[in-house]
Amino acid sequence: MTGTFDRHFFHWIGVVGVTVLCLWLQGDWKWLSEYPGDWVVPVSDWLNAIMDWIVKYSGWFFLGVSWVLEWPIDAVRVVLNALPWSVTTFVVCVVAYAASGWKLSLFAFLSMLYMVVIGYWFESMNTLSLVAISVPMAIVIGFSFGVWGFFSKRAERVIMPMLDLFQTVPTFAYLLPILMLFGFGTVVGLIASVMYSFPPMVRNTIVGLRGVSPEVIESGLMSGATQRQLFWQVRVPSSMRQILLGVNQATMASLSMVIIASIIGGTEDIGWEVLTQIRKAQFGESLLAGLVIALMAMVIDRITAGLATRSDNYETGEKTFIQRYRLWIIAAIGSIVFGLIAQIAAPLNDWPRAWEIDPSDAMNSSLTYLIVNFRPQIEAIKTFAFFFVMLPAKIGLQQAVSPFTWGFALTTTHKIIYAAAILGMVTFLSLRGSQKAGISVLISGIVIYFGLAGMPWPALVLIGAVAGLKIGGPMLAAGTAAGLMFIVMTGTWSEAILSIYLCGIAVVLSFVAGSAIGIWAAHNETVSRVVRPFNDTLQTMPLFVLLIPFVMIFKIGEFTALLAIIAYAIVPAIRYGEHGLRSLPDTVIEAATMIGATRSQMLWQVKIPLALPVMMLGLNQTIMYGIAMLVIAALVGTNGLEQIVYIGLSDGDFGVGIVAGIGMAIIAIIADRMTNAWSRKRQQELGLSPS
């Protein structure tokens, strides 16, 4: 079968031509490989000037807000610290019971007990007090914006891109302006956490209110509801489930941001504890503290998720006051009882220092044992990944292959063989009719040979723009080109490439491995059951914590960062892979079975092509997760944009930090739009409804 070459093919050939030309010329024209420093637009200086101006003339306002917000935080903190741990634990257990039953209640109890016994109660309560203030604020703000966006199309058009920005700008990056405006203190954590956690609330509110079926609205209208009644008694309660899902997501985001915000210090919370322990290379301690965060996240997640999905099967009708408010009464009485007992039995009030368990020394020594005894293996893994995966992607085969790394030098013969192999594959694929695959192989071949860092920037911008054009049309192409040019012109291109390189490898590995696991899980119930709790745990884990085990074994460096990113980004790939394969229409599978497809034909020719759009949504999420983790990975020593953001934060250089942050947001948004557009296009072609 021979394919015809359409105009898309020739467009791409043109792109390859320009790329090759750039590569050829970059020896003579230096500006092709490196954007000249003289041409850099000093956006970061401008931003700094604006910021200085704001701080100078309206700093008093923000400091005032800061002063006002300080009060409720302090109040909650004082209360939580003053309450005996037994009382707090009891109340949490009752809430957990109300949300989902005695199992969660038991889990909550054990988690709280762990915090007490391990000696992190005080720090945990400090974290919790910040979350306790930030979540209601995020919910109120998010709900209000959601309602506004629901009623006004115009408002929605403004709100939605803002949300994208809030969620894609690296978390560290917007700590910086907040720090500068609101001054040093817990308020920074609060505001950052509110800003980070209200977007999911907005989205879920809009989705929920939109999702109410028109007939329900009409039946409300026909019942003679006024606009106000229609809203509060029909729309909101009907979409309560979705809205509560927003509450769950907002809570998790808030906790995760509170932890991240502790990087600026001065909070004495659990995030700060983890961070200082990591910095002191106290791995036992950091793991113990990290576990507190993980447990806290899991308990809060399960409770809010439980409240969201709880089926309201309480009986109406004849109910006494006591029956109706049973749990409230139990919580109140129990608190008083525990409070009183704690006055007599001191350990129920303050856990004695002497009773604290500290297994960190044992953990440290066993880790040392592990590292000492398995040093060759650990080194081997690291070296292999570095020489054969990371270096080629970064600086290309051209430079990565040397006697020192691969054991031989790259001769002209090798180069010719490589070029011939790539061209052969391209020709083969193109003649078989899949020119798109051929083009991808050709471009990948060039990139792998020269390395991402060795590609001239005009070529990469062009490739990005043309990809945008083919996938999503002229708007996406223009957006991609403009975004990438912003990065180029602000002089952060080389760091951006390093970010893309590290995140890219992590995403590719996560997506391939994750999809494979997902496909396996779709065919095997046992696998599915085993994988699910892992996914749940990894996903609720605040990003900090994921770094700990990898830093312990592999020390700081890009490889550790890579592993941490993979650990986090693999989750959506697994989830969407399984979901995509499981949600295929039965009729198609039956039809393929009746035609007599073998298992592998069924998988490769029926299931995967049909599930691909959903899996692409998984890829989208994998990329977003990867970028989110990349930002945090700056802590363990990477060299990309994320590192500039981090340095900007520690130096207090607003302009530099925010420009790098916007650069990362641009990369994230481009990746998001491209994968989404592709998935949507593909789904329409297949006649599947976009999910």
Binding site: E215, E218, S219, G220, M222, S223
Partner: protein
């Protein structure tokens, strides 16, 4: 089926020259709010040529007190839009909706809310139940909206629950009920405020055929007690025949024909109507009066049947006697003679495109 109680001569709800146009500027086609135009067909084609969507074109009909008025049409015929115009869930572009002689379209929002609270009830195709409320709270919802105290609204809701036979299900949530049960809740809710006018928008279309039949019977039973003025939307011609006192058939937003089911069968307005009526089991629709031919001959020696006797019960008599049977009206007078020949003539008028001359 007849629900002949109630005063069929009083008009309850009247729909006059109603137009509904969707598009950029729907108003441009009408000089005034009134939908009366010289040439509806010409206006329709002008609207369509201007890239506007015509949902309802010059729709007029009356619904009498205690009558079941069925609007039948295939999907996209505008039947759902017109019932929403009647309740002003959709704002008509032009025309008048008269409820008890007052134009509904001139009512303020507050007045409209009041009318919906007390005079109208509506049942929806996919039930439109509130997912967060259990059965009794769903049914009492319109009463709650009116601010009626809990005890009173539960008492009223219990009455309608009994009417639709859902006792014992009060505390279930909609998702725990079957489709038929959910629609009973929908029916009960629409009746909770004791409305005069009852709109049913394809109420049984989402149900299985067997359940649908049951629900139709149930519906007729309820109507025989309550005598509401009903507008019933359906796409099912058989369903329309079963329950309608009078019916309208819609196509492309306009009404093609209005009449009693038997009128449609015996004298379909055009081939479109004939397509529906062709497969109708005429013997179970036609009654003696429908095929009786006035006669000057003596009828004393003929067997006498009542005017509302179904033709299927007369077939053997007609077959055995060429003279036929005398048809007696309710007041005892003789309407005419029904014979095999008159039956054939009546059927022929419904089948062929040229009306048979008497």
């Amino acid at each position: 089926m007849k629900t002949s109680t109630g005063d069929l001569n009083t008009v309850k709800l009247s729909c006059r020259n109603v137009w509904k146009v969707y598009g950029q500027q729907p108003d441009q086609f009408f000089n005034s709010a009134e939908g009366k135009v010289e040439n509806a067909a010409a206006l329709s084609s002008r609207i369509l040529n201007n890239d506007h969507i015509l949902a309802n074109a010059d729709v007029s009909f009356d619904v009498h007190v205690g009558e079941i008025f069925v609007i039948m049409g295939l999907s996209g015929s505008g039947k759902s839009t017109i019932v929403r115009c009647l309740s002003r869930l959709v704002e008509p572009t032009a025309g008048e909706i008269l409820l008890d002689g007052e134009d509904l379209l001139k009512k303020t929002d507050a007045e409209l809310i009041d009318i919906r609270r007390h005079k109208m009830g509506m049942v929806f195709q996919s039930f439109g139940l509130m997912p967060h409320l259990n059965v009794i709270d769903n049914i009492a919802f319109p009463l709650k909206i009116q601010g009626i105290a809990e005890a009173d609204r539960y008492a009223q809701a219990s009455r309608v629950i009994e009417l639709v036979g859902l006792q014992g299900r009060e505390n279930n949530y909609p998702r725990e009920l079957s489709g038929g049960q959910q629609q009973r809740v929908g029916i009960a809710r629409s009746l909770a405020v004791e409305p005069d006018v009852w709109f049913l928008d394809e109420p049984f279309s989402a149900l299985d055929p067997l359940i649908r039949k049951q629900m139709q019977d149930e519906f007729l039973r309820i109507q025989s007690k309550l005598h509401k003025s009903i507008v019933f939307i359906t796409h099912d011609f058989q369903e329309a025949l079963r329950i309608a006192d009078r019916m309208a058939i819609m196509r492309d937003g306009a009404i093609v024909q209005i009449g009693r089911p038997v009128d449609l069968i015996l004298s379909p307005a055009d081939d479109y109507i004939r397509e529906f009526t062709q497969d109708v089991p005429w013997e179970s629709i036609l009654r003696a009066a429908d095929i009786a031919k006035p006669t000057r001959k003596k009828t004393a020696n003929l067997p006498v049947v009542n005017e509302d006797a179904l033709v299927e019960t007369l077939l053997s008599q007609l077959a055995s006697s060429a003279d036929g049977v005398a048809v007696k009206a309710a007041d005892g007078s003789i309407l005419g003679v029904a014979s095999a020949q008159s039956l054939a003539a009546a059927l022929a008028s419904g089948v062929s495109s040229t009306a048979v001359d008497e």
